[in-house]
Symmetry: none
Subunit: 224 residues, 2 copies
Amino acid sequence: MKILLIEDEAELAEDIVHYLSDQDFLCEWAKDIGNARGKISQYDYDCILLDLSLPDGDGMEILNELKKLDKTEGVIVISAKENMAVKIESLRSGADDYLTKPFHLAELLARVQALIRRKNFNGSNLIRSAEIEIDLLKKTVAISDRTLILTKKEYELLLYLIGNQNRVLSKGAIAEHLSGDQADLLINHDFVYAHIKNLKRKLIDLGCGDYIKTIYGIGYRWQL
Amino acid sequence: MKILLIEDEAELAEDIVHYLSDQDFLCEWAKDIGNARGKISQYDYDCILLDLSLPDGDGMEILNELKKLDKTEGVIVISAKENMAVKIESLRSGADDYLTKPFHLAELLARVQALIRRKNFNGSNLIRSAEIEIDLLKKTVAISDRTLILTKKEYELLLYLIGNQNRVLSKGAIAEHLSGDQADLLINHDFVYAHIKNLKRKLIDLGCGDYIKTIYGIGYRWQL
DNA sequence: AGATGATTGTATCATTTTGAAAGAAATCTA
DNA sequence: TAGATTTCTTTCAAAATGATACAATCATCT
């Protein structure tokens, strides 16, 4: 198994390389984006550990380049912050997993192994929050193993809420997010009420807890 | 029996060569595409074990070159991932079998032996999903032993759906897949409706379950 | 060339989704 | 508590999407 670690902190990188090598992985290290590009173009890796904060740019660039080549399978994104929005963006861009610093090396190993297992068992990209499981690849939502059928807007809304969990999203922000392009042109944002209500209803109908909280006068929040 | 192993991981390669040699096969090793090309042009092999991820390119290149020479018989593709789409592509390109890493050497041996048996007994490449059985060599589709007669596009569509089972494929993606090259130039994708409908009809007429699900506003999915 | 069948485009119909509107309910403010 | 504001809920028409039927084109075979 060949692993590429893209990480600028030398000390951490060395630790990881050492640890994974001990576990019989063939682990290489790239310290920045330029370096990583060279290695990626030259070799095929079974797994790429990608730190997002790099000295010469945003690791997301690499991820997007890989996406164009349809080679995101096997990427684990490492980020300094537990940011649901970034996490979702990463996974939607095709990353296989997301890991927050600081982490135990054992945890990293577990993820890598899980990834390899998943690769062999035809896995997907999963977002989990409470009893909800969203599969970004299959575009399905499940609540304790039962499938929840959502419309496109409801699905986007749910992702947006969960992606900003515990943060309040204003009606206006949600409206813009859901309407794609002509955002500014929107005057009446009231249709958000309908989508919120319909989504709540479908969630409750499947026995899901009521995590969509209304903050009067401000907006909505996905509250765990 | 002469076998060529195309594999970049030296340690694994050595194990395989050693194991197969013990079983009285004459096994040679090529560590990359360039190396493999040389050997293939020079000798005739009864069986080629081809790892897809190679340092100097995609193993699929080799497979396609072999196909042009009509020498794919005896190729077993080895891949790091159990990827239905790649598996189908490999088998369609003429490979005889597909093996996912990691595997036991005994398993490999069994495959090689099965391959040799097949060579003598004129076997086929089978893809199975639910009660459907597709023979990629004969290009036939059967539902519980009854033959399903499909047009070329219907056959391609079915393979594409099954190759991405449980994943949603957009109308656009399907259209591009079915029309080959001029992908982007396509404006009207509506002909996909017709093929979907016709395929569904033929499947149902043979008593096959309705696995082609419509995801409104998103696409279609082969759902088991 | 003519016949046959496959493929694609067009037209029409059916269904689902969406957003707007409006009154009811809840919440806030003074 | 009254009145203002915000949110909820329902209803409905318009828009988007998909299914179906059919016609036109294209490819293939004899």
